[in-house]
């Protein structure tokens, strides 16, 4: 990816979108997240990379409480995540998530997938929800598939529906958990292009991915994790040109060929 194709840095808000403060998590005896400190400003785009098992997915899944952390604070959009169900629902309304395996609802059409949450969570009238859904389906370039079922779409199309579904809730923050890892190679680009478009519009994004071209083009900051810790975080130019930590150098040498 050439330097010219980089998205110009959006002006970041001064507001903190997500703050993780000494977050720790265990699976049984296994210490998956160790003292994670990360502050994401509004409009900032963070790419998180690292070897498998390094805790990157777990970390972003803690942000909308799909995983529970045991120690430390997580503050999302000014609301601290506790076991208070009301607050969890409040945060989930504002945080969209895109999964590796799409997790679309197979028994609902594309349109119904997109309107479900606005209708049931935001209590939006059906007509309005459909208008908004159509707008986002156009944006991810599949309005003509609205009445199909997810099983009738290709992987790339399904993932774009998943992005549209998340956007229909008009979230302030978007989490992407390896959005292109389950896709056939020829479909990766259409999904990444959609994400680049989102970035251009100034969405706050936390993206777990191995697509280093995308990271270079879009990220304000790249966070490298290993063994449940943040090993290195830096702007993409510095991160790729001058990795500081030995683990980072090793990782980059393995994935950049």
């Amino acid at each position: 990816m050439s330097e010219t194709s980089r998205i110009k840095p959006t002006k970041l808000n001064t507001a903190v979108a997500v703050e993780l403060d000494r977050v720790n998590k265990w699976y049984g005896d296994f210490h998956v997240l160790r003292d994670i400190d990360l502050k994401v400003m509004g409009g900032e785009r963070i790419v998180i990379c690292g070897p498998s098992g390094s805790g990157k997915s777990t970390m972003i899944r803690c942000i909308n409480r799909l995983e529970e952390h045991q120690k430390g604070r997580i503050v999302v959009d000014g609301v601290e995540l506790t076991s208070d169900l009301k607050k969890i629902d409040e945060i989930r309304r504002e945080v969209g998530m895109v999964f590796q395996h799409f997790n679309l609802f197979p028994h609902l059409t594309v349109m119904e997938n997109c309107t479900l949450a606005p209708i049931w969570v935001r209590k939006m009238p059906k007509k309005d929800a459909e208008d908004i859904a159509m707008q986002y389906l156009r944006r991810v370039k599949i309005p003509e598939q609205a009445s199909k079922y997810p099983g009738q779409l290709s992987g790339g199309q399904q993932q774009r529906v998943a992005i549209a579904r998340a956007l229909c809730m008009n979230p302030k923050i978007m989490l992407f958990d390896e959005p292109t890892s389950a896709l056939d190679p020829e479909m990766v680009k259409e999904v990444l292009d959609t994400m680049v478009g989102l970035a251009e519009d100034g969405m706050t994004m936390l993206v777990v991915t191995h697509e280093m071209g995308f990271a270079r083009q879009v990220a304000n900051r790249i966070v490298f994790m290993d063994e449940g810790q943040i090993v290195e975080a830096n702007a993409p130019e510095e991160f790729f040109a001058h990795p500081k930590h030995e683990r980072t150098k090793l990782f980059l040498s393995q994935i950049l060929r």
Binding site: N64, L66, R92, F99, N103, F105, H107, L116, V121, G151
Partner: protein, 388 residues
């Protein structure tokens, strides 16, 4: 000119298709009736053997059945003499006049004759409700649901039990019998067991320990005892603990026993379906902000129930036939009515019992096969909606 080995290899590597191959129809042996017979009946030696055995079996059973039920059957008569070989001097099959005469008894039991229109009205209302609910293109199915689950139970109670204030004399449930009882018991079991089973299944997977403990205990306890024991408990043991004044009706007790029993089985069926839903579906639903109940109602249960349709219907069919056990606590269901009628001296012939049981078999077969067919149609329809 001879090519060297090197040249030959290059020539073979290089290939460019100059025209496309058009699709052609499959060979005749794959299509039509002949193709079907070859593929389904005669594909392997084992399959051929099975086909021969089944055809032989059918050739043996069907003529016998037809002979008994139709060709040798007696179609009219006033009493046992019409169906006795000694009197008629011919081979005698099914004794249908016996069935015609006892049919009202099979349907209503001892329900007072002047009040039997109430049972008919109930049957009509029930049929309407079933069609409304099961026919997926029916108009206003939302009203249909209210009708089936609110209007119908109340109306059925008023009609069948009676309500003095509007001039319907009370008919004690002791007098109820026959198909009426079978259908009432089965309907209550079917209608109660699914929602209760769903709640128990959700409870058993709940994160709340008390809810989980209660659900698990209930399911394991009820599944762990025979239905007959539950019925005995309800009808024999309960009166020992409850003051006579409060003692609930015998039929009601059996209804509650059967409904709870079926719910425990249904809970495990539904739980199996819940187990099969991938974690990603829960996460997808949670991530868009759905709470527990909307997530279950809109995302998880529709998928879980869909894959458990065969098992749900299996449980329903089992339940329908289990209703015959209520005779043990002195309730006159359809099978019991047949049992009583067949030993009536007026119709005492060698074929009376067989005829009565044939009627019972046809009745149960019609209902169970109907449920089975409907479920198959539903599955096909749901599968067609979502597959590519």
């Amino acid at each position: 000119m001879t090519m060297s080995e090197g040249e030959l290899a290059v020539a073979e590597l290089h290939f460019v298709r100059d025209r496309a191959i058009a699709p052609q129809p499959p060979p005749a042996s794959m299509t039509g009736a002949l193709g079907w017979v070859r593929a389904n009946l005669l594909s392997t030696p084992f399959n051929i053997a099975l086909t021969v055995i089944v055809v032989a079996l059918l050739a043996w059973v069907i003529p016998e059945l037809a002979k008994f039920l139709v060709f040798d059957a007696v179609w009219s008569g006033a009493d046992r003499d019409a169906c006795r070989e000694a009197v008629q001097h011919r081979e005698i099959g099914a004794c249908w006049p016996f069935v015609w005469e006892r049919l009202p008894y099979f349907v209503y039991g001892s329900y007072p004759i002047p009040e039997r229109w109430r049972v008919d009205a109930f049957f009509v209302m029930l049929a309407l409700g079933i069609v409304w609910l099961l026919w997926l293109e029916a108009p206003r199915r939302d009203i249909g649901v209210v009708y089936c689950f609110v209007v119908l139970p109340i109306a059925a109670f008023i009609l069948l039990h009676g309500f003095e204030a509007i001039g319907l004399p009370v008919v004690d449930t002791v007098l109820w019998g026959g198909m009426l009882v079978t259908i009432v018991v089965a309907s209550v079991g079917i209608v109660v067991s699914l929602p209760l089973g769903i709640l128990l299944a959700l409870g058993r997977r709940s994160h709340m320990p008390t809810v989980r403990l209660f659900s698990t205990l209930f399911i394991e306890f009820v599944r762990g005892v025979p239905l007959i024991t539950v019925l005995f408990m309800a009808s024999v043991m309960l009166p020992l603990f409850v003051p006579e004044r409060l003692e609930p009706d015998k039929l009601l007790r059996a209804l509650i026993g059967i409904a709870l029993f079926a719910s425990a089985y249904m809970a495990e069926v539904v739980r199996a379906g819940l187990q099969a839903i991938p974690k990603g579906q829960f996460e997808g639903a949670m991530a868009v902000g759905l709470g527990y109940w909307p997530m279950m109602r809109l995302i998880v249960l529709p998928q879980a129930l869909k894959i458990t349709i065969p098992n749900i219907v299996n449980t329903y069919i089992g339940l329908f036939k289990d209703t015959t056990l209520v005779f043990i606590v002195g309730i006159f269901d359809f099978l019991r009515a047949v049992e009583v009628a067949r030993i009536d001296p007026k119709w005492a012939t060698p074929v009376t019992s067989t005829t009565g049981y044939a009627v019972a078999a046809m009745f149960y077969l019609a209902f169970c096969y109907g449920m089975s067919r409907y479920a198959r149609a539903m599955e096909a329809r749901l599968a067609a909606g979502e597959k590519r």
